[in-house]
């Protein structure tokens, strides 16, 4: 009976991240005397859209079990931003090919990551770490230190809003829905959760473990690739450090959103909630006039508190 009760209540750990986000927004409004709540939300949804897109990939990777994490995301963002901008080369008709090229570059890195894991039999952390170093250099070489501006149409599209709702947020929402559907309703999605709980059990149940892992790293790379292109378009051109913050941010968002670090349980809504929360908490601290150092420090303490309260999840109960 207890187990059932616990599962029902614990079934929505992502609710907390939304509550946190709402609280942070409320506090900001109070600090700003009720001014600009809408604008804050628009900004939150815009920036969270980027975070959500990359974090969805990271979430899939982390869900495949302990030790699985994609450290190559920042370098992929840098690379795909450059690839997208160079392919588009300020010509609006090249917009679609540019996006495809960026996604393909990310997917290629994902495949390479899996190849390293499989062929060298090394932990995913080391594989994605080594590939991130190489990819960074490729990004530098491809970008040649130049910032290419996005085509005007692309820049307009990525910052387009309708009634305060950013187009990007709609795209990220759609991506989240697709990922949620994939996890729930496809053999691949079920396999992700299965191998995260136990690779051995999944294999004995006849699920294809290796194909699932390959696809997962590929998807993570592709999503980072897409995000790289969008960020470059949004911020007026590609830059090498555009992905830097996403290394730690994606892991933090995934964990705070209620995805199990030990694998097997993903939480798609939690990614949205945690992304908004991470943005709004900074906004709140800003509005309260907190120094930037204290802001970062509090972010860290929140991450530690969330994981410590969430508790030591043993892989096998």
């Amino acid at each position: 009976m207890m187990a059932i009760l616990k599962a029902r209540l614990g079934g929505a750990p992502w609710l907390w991240s939304f509550l946190g986000a709402a609280a942070a927004w409320g506090a900001t409004l109070i600090a700003a005397h009720g001014q600009g709540g809408g604008q804050i939300l628009t900004a939150a949804f815009t920036f969270s859209a980027f975070t959500v897109l990359v974090s969805l990939g990271q979430m899939l990777v982390i869900t495949t079990g302990p030790g699985n994490v994609d450290l190559s995301i920042p370098s992929v963002i840098a690379l795909s931003g450059a690839v997208a901008m160079l392919t588009m080369n300020e010509r609006p008709e090249m917009m679609l090919p540019g996006l495809v090229a960026a996604i393909a570059a990310g997917a290629a890195v994902g495949i390479a990551n899996y190849g390293l894991i499989r062929l060298l039999r090394i932990p995913p952390i080391i594989a994605t770490l080594s590939s991130s170093l190489v990819v960074t250099s490729i990004a530098i070489t491809v970008g040649r230190g130049l910032t290419v501006k996005p085509p005007q149409l692309f820049a307009d599209l990525v910052s387009f809003r309708f009634a305060g709702i950013p187009l990007l947020a709609v795209v990220a929402l759609a991506a989240a829905v697709v990922v949620a559907l994939t996890l729930e309703r496809t053999v691949y999605g079920r396999s992700v959760s299965a191998i995260g709980q136990s690779r051995r059990v999944a294999q004995l149940a006849g699920l294809s473990v290796e194909r699932t892992r390959l696809l997962t790293y590929l998807i993570s790379g592709a999503l980072a690739g897409l995000t790289g292109a969008l960020i470059a378009g949004f911020s007026g051109g590609n830059a090498l450090d555009q992905g830097q913050e996403y290394l730690l941010l994606t892991i933090a968002v995934v964990v705070i959103g209620g995805t199990a670090v030990s694998g097997g349980r993903a939480s798609v809504p939690g990614v949205w909630g945690a992304a908004l929360f991470m943005f709004l908490i900074v906004t709140m601290l800003n509005a309260a006039g907190t120094a930037p150092g204290l802001r970062t420090l509090l972010t860290g303490l929140i991450i530690i508190a969330v994981i410590a309260i969430g508790g030591g999840e043993k892989l096998r109960p």
Binding site: P66, S137, L248, T296, G300, I303
Partner: protein, 313 residues
């Protein structure tokens, strides 16, 4: 000697061979580097990386991973460039406090059975926040004694080589030879068996994280001595570099298989990889990439050796 033993030997010598090969290539390209001055230039930035690597190594020895070491080293450098100069006693107190906080995080991880990777991820934000608070914009200056120490030119070989040698020896003794080092590696190899023999896994983790804190302290101070000014992001790359160096040194992520001498060699290899390209007249764009490629190459060789070992009788 059986082929199996030969393969094991090759595996153990791999870090040294990698470094030797890299040095040989540099000397071949630029014979002038083979001097006191040249070596000093090539290697002095290795010192802080060596300390950060050893900090990462003790954490990896118990199957944990520390994603906060880079931010921590930055924080130490920032405290060193400000408080330690302005109010020395407060600076010392702040540094000690950081070590205690590190140990407390170790206790938290052991107590709640938390994944170290997420906790240290959060911790890295804490260090960074503190560093930005202490030193909001790059600047400050190193205490004079620190700059003098790091600028010292000892006889025979540059300071970096002396430090690397001494640290290797101490590390080898403490981790590989000493009776406490055995318990440390044992906890990584089979924690249950160590606990069954009556050891406290909590005490082991606290000691591990405190040691990491002290080694990170040495890393931050030596870095400050070399650069003479602080920056909250000065060592953010150290997190990944230290993990890579430990692995390059022959260690595995799990199972308590760590090698201090290898780790020091790995740290020097990755430091040199950057300079190497300059000498080879390859674009500096590939500095980071070269580190990655060396890592992949060494891991590939190791995978081949491991497969050979499985096949050998």
């Amino acid at each position: 000697m059986t082929s199996r033993r030969l393969l094991v030997l090759a595996e153990r010598l791999l870090p040294a061979l990698t470094l030797a090969l890299l040095l040989a290539a540099i000397f071949h390209q630029q014979p002038r580097a083979m001097s006191y001055f040249g070596l000093n230039l090539l290697l002095n930035l290795a010192v802080p990386i060596v300390f950060a690597t050893l900090a990462q190594m003790v954490v990896i020895a118990v199957n944990d991973l520390d994603l906060s070491i880079g931010a921590y080293v930055s924080l130490v450098a920032c405290i060193g460039a400000t408080l330690l100069v302005q109010t020395p006693w407060l600076g010392v107190l702040a540094l000690l406090g950081a070590v205690v906080l590190y140990a407390a995080v170790g206790a938290l991880i052991a107590w709640r059975g938390l994944p170290s990777i997420v906790v240290t991820l959060g911790l890295s934000f804490v260090w960074l926040g503190l560093a930005v608070t202490v030193l909001p914009t790059p600047g400050g200056h190193a205490p004079a004694w620190l700059a003098t120490t790091m600028g010292w030119k000892p006889p025979l070989a540059p300071l970096a080589l002396w430090i690397a040698a001494v640290v290797s020896l101490v590390g080898w003794f403490a981790v590989t030879r000493s009776s406490l080092g055995v318990v440390l590696r044992g906890a990584g190899g089979n924690a249950r068996s160590v606990a069954r023999a009556g050891w406290s896994l909590m005490a082991i983790r606290v000691a591990v994280y405190a040691t990491a804190g002290i080694l990170g302290l040495l890393s931050g101070l030596s870095l400050l001595g070399l650069t003479t000014s602080g920056d909250a992001n000065i060592a953010s790359r150290y997190t990944l570099i230290s993990i890579a160096s430990v692995i390059l040194g022959g260690a595995s992520f799990v199972g308590g298989r760590v090698f201090p001498v290898g780790a020091v060699l790995g740290a020097m290899t990755l430091t040199l990889a950057a300079s190497f390209l300059t000498f080879m007249r390859i674009s500096p764009d590939w500095q980071v990439g070269a580190q990655g490629l060396i890592l992949i190459a060494v891991l590939a060789i190791r995978a081949v050796l491991a497969r050979g070992k499985e096949a050998a009788p």
